[in-house]
């Protein structure tokens, strides 16, 4: 394992060095900058060819649907960059946060509801982070099990019922408020992105997350408590998923345990398409935001064209595999 990460570092380093001298190799360039062109082309093509895409109602709808997925994705970027593949349990985390938020706020008010959702997020972060960071367990399996545990607990306590928010009040007001065509939830997404981009690129913790992704053993030999860094990365993801749950609950004014199905997958697609490497170490929060735009617009086009759920899943699955393939092949080209 240690040797593998070491070769990864060498690959990354060589890839960066050789890129200016080798402008003709298409794959690394595409892995680096392709997303800008593809996103622009996709939006342009959709505006021209897809009926009803360029309407104000639809654009607001895209923002509404992109906001919670986007908030999850920018948070999960930390786990991906730290070299731990992904956090599947965001599905359970978003649903837990949304259900707790609405159920508690109906009785005790919004601040206590936020506090209760925070407690749940802390529990998720601690279980995932300690199992992955200190027990060195596989992140995919750990978060798969916490997904089932979390959804199971939620369904047991909620009885599978749907929670409704009050017809008027601060939550409803926030969920429906807009600034021009942009709903407040999208503004939250931008705010979260800016904060997390600052944390990842400018703080000591962000530096440790990135260096852990590049080379785990070197980071540990450098005297860093690596377990604490991983717990931190899962904390960022859990807090983002919590905020996404609030936003989702406020927008739909209902909460049920199955409301965030597929968020893990769409968030991962956004992160990978944005150019963050699943091999760890490489990537940025702002790129993930771009990936979110791409995935949301793509999903919106598929929905507007009356393409069924099955085809949407196939399209997103292929998108992930293609994006990872380009990333993997560009690394091979870089070492040649």
């Amino acid at each position: 394992m240690a040797k593998e990460t070491l070769t990864e570092v060498i690959t990354v380093a060589q890839g960066d060095e050789q890129q200016p001298s080798k402008p003709r190799s298409v794959l690394p360039w595409m892995a680096e900058n392709g997303i800008f062109i593809f996103t622009a082309l996709l939006i342009l093509g959709a505006a021209v060819f897809v009926d009803g895409f360029a309407s104000l109602v639809n654009i607001t709808d895209v923002f509404h649907r992109a906001a919670p997925i986007g908030i999850v994705a920018v948070g999960m970027t930390f786990v991906v960059i730290s070299g731990n593949y992904l956090d599947l349990s965001v599905v359970a985390q978003v649903a837990t946060s949304a259900v707790i938020f609405l159920a508690v706020s109906n009785v005790y008010g919004v601040p206590i509801a936020m506090l209760a959702a925070l407690l749940a997020a802390i529990a998720y972060a601690l279980v995932n982070g300690i199992a992955v960071g200190y027990f060195k367990a596989n992140a995919v399996i750990v978060t798969l099990s916490t997904t089932y545990i979390g959804i199971g607990v939620l369904r047991y306590f909620s009885g599978g019922s749907i929670f409704f928010g009050p017809e008027d009040g601060p939550i409803r007001a926030f969920g429906t408020a807009k600034l021009g065509p942009v709903p407040y939830s999208a503004l939250v997404l931008i705010l979260v992105t800016l904060i997390l981009a600052f944390v990842l690129s400018r703080t000591n913790f962000g530096f440790l997350v990135r260096s852990f992704g590049v080379n785990e053993s070197a980071t540990r030999l450098g005297g860093v408590n690596t377990g604490y860094v991983i717990v931190g990365a899962f904390f960022v993801t859990a807090l983002a998923a919590m905020v996404a749950g609030w936003v989702l609950a406020a927008f739909s004014n209902t909460a049920v345990s199955s409301m965030s199905t597929g968020y893990d997958f769409q968030a991962l697609a956004a992160i990978i398409v944005g150019g963050t490497s699943v091999f760890g170490g490489k990537g940025s929060v702002l790129r993930t935001l771009l990936g979110v735009v791409f995935v949301s617009v793509l999903t919106n086009i598929l929905v507007l064209s009356n393409i069924t759920f099955g085809y949407q899943q196939v399209a997103l699955g292929i998108l992930i595999v293609v994006a990872v393939t380009i990333d993997a092949l560009s690394r091979k080209v870089g070492t040649r």
Partner: protein, 341 residues
């Protein structure tokens, strides 16, 4: 001092207990046996119906175990196949869509092999991590199952074949259990007696060393993923025959249980260590647990909590994990004593 120690070791090696200790130390199934023992004791005290209704329990064990067997082949090489549940669903739908039963079975099994080849291509040739590649396949294949079935369960054309398949064949054993036993024996012989199967351990233990020793690593990865794809589609065929219908949502509950069975059975996720027998022990433990929970009238969400907890326990109580935790506790203590001094 050292001489007496080595003498003691030497003498204990030849005694029966010493040899037994050596055998136990070499085996990887310890945690699986412990879990199975606990579950059997608790279940026999609280829900003895599980043992009197043993055909039900055996069917459950066979369902979990079959998928877990295929997973084991991949895990031994340090890879993972997350797409097994979707493979199960899609091959079941393919089989139900074809009017002729035998042709349907053949098409479904071929589908499983093709899925295995695609997975292995991305892992061995392109070089994508198997967690991510098979995760993409997990969603793509689930979507394909929805497309092919129009999002509703597909009825089997030849329902008589399905009903005949559900009947007990030898004693109380249904064909499902017999197929599971055959698959278990075949894989056990393959992994422990056939050269290609023995090489799985080498590929998982140290891939570079295996490559240097002349083992065709890429071909072994293809073999492994084809086994797991084939076995998953076999489970899909069995499911469709027994229920005389193919559900595109099938396999969601099996996924978690089969992972838990393979991992608690002592198959190390980074590869190189593990056994087919361990997977059988793990599948038995989880099958008995599931049937006991169902018979006790415990709701599905709570059952999922139980199995999720076992999976979490399985993946964190691996010897390497425990060593990592002990190491970090020790380093924290040392750091404290240093800062005090």
């Amino acid at each position: 001092m050292s001489q007496t120690q080595s003498l003691k070791l030497g003498s204990s090696d030849t005694s029966f207990l010493g040899r037994a200790r050596l055998v136990v130390a070499r085996r990887t199934e310890g945690r699986g046996v412990a879990l199975l023992a606990i579950i059997l004791v608790v279940v026999s005290l609280t829900q003895p119906l599980v043992f009197t209704a043993y055909p039900v329990s055996l069917g459950r064990i066979a369902l979990i175990g079959l998928v877990a067997l295929g997973l084991t082949a991949v895990i031994l090489m340090g890879e993972l196949d997350l797409s097994v549940a979707s493979t199960l669903a899609v091959s079941g739908v393919v089989m139900a869509l074809i009017p002729d039963v035998w042709l349907g079975i053949l098409a479904a099994l071929a589908m499983g092999l093709v899925i295995g080849v695609i997975n292995a291509f991305f892992v061995a040739v392109v070089g994508i991590n198997s967690f991510i590649a098979t995760l993409g396949m997990l969603f793509a294949l689930r979507g394909l199952a929805y497309i092919l079935s129009d999002e509703t369960p597909v009825r089997l054309t030849d329902t008589d074949a399905g009903i005949a398949f559900g009947q007990a064949l030898i004693g109380p054993l249904t064909p499902r259990v017999l197929i599971f036993v055959l698959a278990f024996l075949a894989l056990q012989i393959f992994v422990s007696r056939v050269k290609a199967g023995r090489e799985f351990f080498a590929v998982g233990g140290n891939r570079q060393a295996a490559y240097d020793a002349g083992i065709p690593v890429k071909r072994r990865i293809f073999t492994g993923f084809m086994i797991s794809g084939f076995v998953a589609s076999l489970a899909g065929v069995i499911n469709t025959l027994e229920r005389t219908a193919a559900d595109p949502r099938a396999g969601l509950t099996v996924l978690l249980a089969s992972f838990a069975a393979a991992i608690i059975g002592g198959n190390y996720l980074k590869g190189g260590r593990g056994s087919i027998v361990g997977t059988l022990i793990g599948a038995t433990a989880l099958g008995v647990l599931q049937v006991a929970l169902t018979l006790s009238g415990i709701q599905v969400p709570v059952q999922e909590i139980f199995i999720g907890l076992i999976l979490l326990l399985a993946v964190t109580t691996d010897p390497a994990s425990l060593r990592a935790v002990l190491g970090s506790i020790r380093s924290v203590r040392q750091g404290r004593s240093k800062s005090r001094a």
